[in-house]
Subunit: 200 residues, 2 copies
DNA sequence: AGCGGATATGACAAGGGTGTCATAAAAAAC
DNA sequence: GTTTTTTATGACACCCTTGTCATATCCGCT
C-alpha cells in the first residue's frame, strides 16, 4: 500500500508517477525494473519515491491493483457470460474481448506477460494470488463435464492449465511480432484441437 | 569460442571452471548470471577469466556446446527411433529417456529450462539456433499427416509448438516441486488429448 | 509574522556488476 | 643463465542498483 503522502499528491503528479511505473514494469520484468529509471522518467527525485512507497514491491502491488480495477471495469461491460454457455463457445466468443483488452491496454498486457518470465519469490506469490482469484475457467470446464459434454476420464484442471499455458505461448509469439490475425487463427485451431480431444 | 589459453590449462583447473560455470548458469538465467560469483566458486581470480574467455556470452556458448555433445552421446545410446513409428508412440516411448536425461543431468536440464525465462536478444538467438537444428518433431508430424493418420486440415507445425509449449509448462511444474510420477501422468493425459484432437 | 508539520531533495553508504591493464610470476627458448 | 613468451593477478575505472538521512522548502494555522 502506498503511503498517505502519495494520495495527497496533486492529481497530475500522481498520474505522472503511475504512468512511469507502468511503463517501467511493461519494459522490464519486476526483478529487472529499476526505480532509478522510473523516477527519472517521472521527473521526481529519488528521495521522493521512498516518501510515497515503501519499496519496489509496494509500487508493483499498487500498479497491479489498479490494473485489476480497470480489467474488472472493462470486462463487466461485456456483461455476464451466458450461464449455460460451455467452455468452447465462451472461449471463442471471448476472444475479441480479450484482444480488445490487450490492444487497448498494451502496457497492462505486457506487464501480465512479463510476470510469466519472472521466477522471483515475490512474483510467484503475486501470480498465485491472481490465479486463485479467477477460478472461472476451471469451474466452467467442470460444469461441462458434469453435463456430459466432456469425457468423464478427462482431468479438467489439466485442460485448464493446458489452455493457459498455450495462451501464454501465443502471447509470446504476439510480442515476437506475429500479427494479430495469425494469432487469432492459431487460437481457433488450438481450441478446435482441444475440443476434439476432450469432447464425449 | 574460449581462448587457446583455456585449452592449455591443466585438466583439473579446466574442469573446476567448467563446473562452476554450469552451476552458475543452472542457478541463474544467463542475464542474471554473475561472472563474479562464478570465478569465486571456481577459485580463480577475476582477471584469469578474461584470459580464458572473451566474456559471459563466450562462456555460455562453450557450455551449451558441451551440453549438446553430451546430449547427442546419450541419445544415440537409445538407438535411432523406428523410422515407421508415429508421433504419439515416439513421444510416449521417449518419455523415460527424456526423464532419465533430465534426472541424470539436472543442471544441464535446468540451464535449458532457464533459457525459456530469459528474454535477452542473446538467448533468443541461441534458442532459435537450437530449435532450427532439431526439426525431428515437426517432420514426424508431417509424415503422420501424409500417411493419413492426422486430419489434413490440422496445422502440424502448430501441434509441434503446442507440444513444446506444454512440455515447457510441465517442466516448470517439475521445478515447482511436482513429483515425477505426477508429471509423467500429466504428459500421458496431454498426449492423449492432443491425440484425440488431431487424429483422423 | 512566526511556528510546526508535511513534503522535497540530493548526497551518501554499501552493495552489486563488467571489462581492462600494468605488473608479477612462471615457463620456455635460447 | 639470460632472454622471451606465456600466464596469473588484483587493483582500477566505470557503470549500475537500493534505501536512508540531514537539510531545505513549502504551506497552513494561529
Amino acid at each position: 500500500m502506498p503511503k498517505e503522502t502519495f494520495f495527497r499528491l496533486p492529481e497530475e503528479k500522481r498520474r505522472r508517477i503511475y504512468q512511469a511505473a507502468v511503463e517501467e514494469f511493461a519494459a522490464y520484468r519486476f526483478s529487472d525494473a529499476s526505480i532509478n529509471r522510473m523516477v527519472k522518467a517521472a521527473g521526481i527525485p529519488r528521495g521522493s519515491f521512498y516518501q510515497y512507497f515503501k519499496n519496489k514491491e509496494d509500487l508493483y502491488l499498487y500498479v497491479m491493483g489498479e490494473i485489476g480495477k480497470e480489467k474488472l471495469k472493462v470486462l463487466s461491460r461485456y456483461g455476464p457470460a451466458d450461464d449455460q454457455a460451455g467452455f468452447f463457445e465462451t472461449a471463442k466468443s471471448a476472444l475479441p474481448a480479450v484482444f480488445d483488452w490487450a490492444e487497448s491496454h498494451p502496457l497492462y498486457n505486457r506487464i501480465g506477460f512479463l510476470m510469466a518470465l519472472d521466477d522471483s519469490d515475490f512474483i510467484r506469490m503475486v501470480m498465485k494470488k491472481i490465479n486463485d482469484s479467477q477460478p472461472f475457467l476451471r469451474q466452467m470446464l467442470k460444469k461441462d463435464q458434469a453435463k456430459g459434454l466432456i469425457r468423464p476420464e478427462i482431468d479438467t484442471d489439466l485442460v485448464a492449465d493446458m489452455y493457459l499455458n498455450l495462451a501464454l505461448g501465443l502471447c509470446r509469439d504476439y510480442y515476437g511480432g506475429t500479427p494479430r490475425e495469425e494469432i487469432i487463427g492459431k487460437v481457433g485451431s488450438l481450441l478446435e484441437i482441444i475440443c476434439h480431444g476432450i469432447l464425449a
